[in-house]
Amino acid sequence: MTSIFRKAYFFLIGLFLALPLIVVAGVSVNAKQTLAFPPQSFSLSWYGEIFFNPEWRSALFASVTLALLSAALAVAIALPLAWFLWRRIAPWANIFQVLGVAPFTLPPVITALGMLTFWATVGFYGQPWTAVVSHAIFFVTLPLVTLSLGFTSIDRSLVEAASTMGADERTIFRTVVLPLILPYIVSGYAFAFVLSLNEYIVAYMTVGFTMETLPIKIFNALRYGYTPTMASVTVLFVTTAAVIFGLVARFGDLPKLLGAMSSDGK
């Protein structure tokens, strides 16, 4: 395809993707509390609002805590599972791989509703920790996929060599497997963290009536009209995601993680 056509096409797609975010960034620095673009006067006070307004700050705190804990739990579930599937021949155990991928494949509202009926039935509905467990299950797919990819890229002869030299299973895992798999653990954690930070429906259906995460807070605020803090939080979220994925790309192989070369490792 000709170069001009390609440039124009990429420019238009880029514009389509960036336009809403540019406008939101614009209204977020508007000094007045009205929704206007281009901004009439410049102010960063709506960014301060996220950290100084007690309601927004507690929502920020809730979101970050939820994302940190649920991503950790998701990795804790995915790592032994991916390791087992790589180390052992146990075809029936693949059922857990399917279970791990299912919540993410199905429409999110289904996982959310399943969690709601479950927590309501067992009587823990509304407890903050139920959101951590729900998010961990909902996002376990991400570390599971990155880790499975990571394990397939490990050269088995390395492990074989360690075994021949007399290392036991535990030593091999700690000294050979873990260092090789670490980048995949980090990127799996990063993906789960960013998505958990942004997740609305599962969080809303599990703890929506007792606590507010940032997406829940934005949605609730949206129903009563507009405040510029929504815009500043949006910019904060986009920046956070871009920085984290940028770091993953900087220290890992992003095209490979996204499946560009997954057939090589097998």
């Binding site: 336009l19 032994p80 021949i89 289904i110 009926t117 942004n198 997406p215 979220f237």
Partner: protein, 284 residues
Amino acid sequence: MRREPPQTLGDYAPLLFPAAMLTIFFVVPFGTMIAVSFFQRQQGGFYTPAFVFDNYARFLSAFFGGVLGFSLLLAITVAICCVVLALPFTYMLTRMGRKVQVLWLVALLSILSLSEVIIGFAWSTLFSRTAGITNILVALGVMSEAKALTPSFGAVLTGMVYQAFPYTVLVLFPALVRLDPTLTEAARTLGASPLKAFFTVVVPALRNTITATLIMVFIFALGSYLLPQLLGRPQHWTLSVLITDQAIYQSNMPFAAAMAVFLVLVTLGLVALTVIAGRKGEAA
């Protein structure tokens, strides 16, 4: 170390925690939801164990049929728009330098991870009267005065294409990277224009990938639960929105669960189709 079957019971130990977590917190909740879908609804938001088909019988109403038809139609439209836009984009992206590729992938991932709340808010701002895109058109002299473009079907569609576009690119990306570049080179050497090579060589070679991607984006769009609510009118509500509405605001859990079970069945049927399309792709 070669892969070997587990010999002792101890070899199964690593599986214990993941298996327990997934069973207790995914299989059991899923089962609970299916059970609740057969329960009897009581006044005031409660429900009692029973085995009735009332909740499923409500599917037969014209209202439900309308919502279902609209949901499917909307998801199909989103899937087609996304694949048509994303296929040439991803194809050209895979032929670019690594640095440019990574930059675009980071941008796409960042947008993909955005909450529907945020996407909905961003587009409602862009489509608003006071801060929206129509102001630019007025400044350019195309329109006489700014107006709100939301709520409308166009706004819902745009928002959902925006949400699903990065997903479509990421689904297409691996298949297009692996596409043999000599295929198009051969066509070019034989005198085909780049556009002709794309449509006569790349698109047919990827037929099964395209089918699978269409279905996956369709499922993704079917799951959109907030955008139709934030950018559309009540007649633009989809099955996902309706499920949320019944569960939270109407407190009718059994009916919400029945609709969710139905949505699962539709999705699973489509996943099966994707797998079949994928198998055919491998055989070809």
